[in-house]
Symmetry: C2
């Protein structure tokens, strides 16, 4: 699909792990320092490469930002959106989306950089207009999947008397905020948080 | 209190409306363009002032960012945190906090810049370390108020079997996300959204 293009441009098939490392490190630095305050030199230093070496992977800083966001959206697509589309039951689908997206952010056992990639998808100001539109379009597809799922539940008489747009954005808010507060070193386990968030959201929207 | 200091530094008592206008416009520009990409010249242009004129109010860009955040936190404090502390009943207090904070973001009848000030409070990367600590400390006070309210509800046996930290951040996520999606020109009315969000969150966390 279209969104994979920027990734393919920068990587040969033998180096996906290296690129993954560069992307996650770059996301972490950009979120902590701000996009404009981050230089390609710093990113190169952080991943132990020369400046020339990093330009082998990524042509420039604006391209890097778009590549990072596309990478985050590809992950979301592969791990959440596509598998969710295969689930015919709306109740199961909604729970799957919330649970899986939350787990994507908290990461598998201490991978602390997942959250940074998630936060970065809001840094639309740093993109070119064309790239910005593409990211917004991908986000909209995800929004529509969630809203259609809620509409289906409403038709089935399962949902409380609520607006499905408000419900959809409340889900995103709860899940995306995780990236801003969850710390793998903290006392709360990612899997338990994902369970609780799913419980809160679902019981808040469903008829009791 | 301490947080009012930066505001007082830049304003004489006769000019609060002018400063309010500068702050709201600056917040909007910074959120849309990014902090580093925004110049003091642009902000001056947007509010119809000379560059010298704007420096009469604000000594520099980093100070401006801190002043904007302090201003947003002052509003939150006056409109949500302080009145909430006067409410002895935990259930009423929780509903008041969610409802009032959501209304602060959607604004009174079409004041479209409230959301930008709210989004800006996450731009911690642009602050000096000292200022960053102060903003984080103010946010923590608010978090503690919400969490203590939830703990009180838990002791009263009202809350479902959930972690109150996860609950508190789920509330913030749902409410703060409003600033990123709500459009005063859209079909949804701010007051109705605030009601629905309160309903979703409260019924999601309370025992049925």
């Amino acid at each position: 699909m279209g969104a994979l293009k920027p990734r393919k441009k920068f990587v040969t098939n033998s180096e996906p792990d290296r690129l993954d490392e560069i992307y996650r490190t770059a996301a972490e630095i950009i979120v902590e320092k701000g996009f404009d305050a981050t230089s390609m030199n710093e990113i190169a230093d952080a991943v132990g490469m020369t400046k020339a070496g990093i330009y082998h992977y990524i042509p420039g800083k604006k391209d890097l930002l778009y590549a990072l966001m596309s990478y985050a959206m590809d992950h979301l697509d592969a791990q959440v959106v596509q598998p969710a589309r295969e689930i015919p039951n709306a109740d199961d689908r909604l729970r799957f989306i919330i649970q899986r997206h939350a787990r994507l952010i908290t990461g598998e056992r201490g991978n602390k950089r997942n959250g940074f990639l998630s936060i970065l998808t809001d840094e639309l100001a740093g993109l070119t207009l064309t790239h910005r539109r593409k990211i917004i379009e991908r986000k909209r597809e995800y929004l529509n999947l969630v809203r259609e799922t809620l509409d289906q539940l409403k038709r089935e008489g399962r949902l409380a008397d609520l607006d499905t747009t408000v419900c959809a954005f409340s889900i995103f808010g709860t899940v995306m905020w995780l990236a801003r507060w969850y710390r793998p070193s903290g006392p709360l386990v990612g899997e338990k948080i994902a369970d609780e968030i799913t419980k809160i959201v679902v019981s808040g929207m469903f008829k009791s």
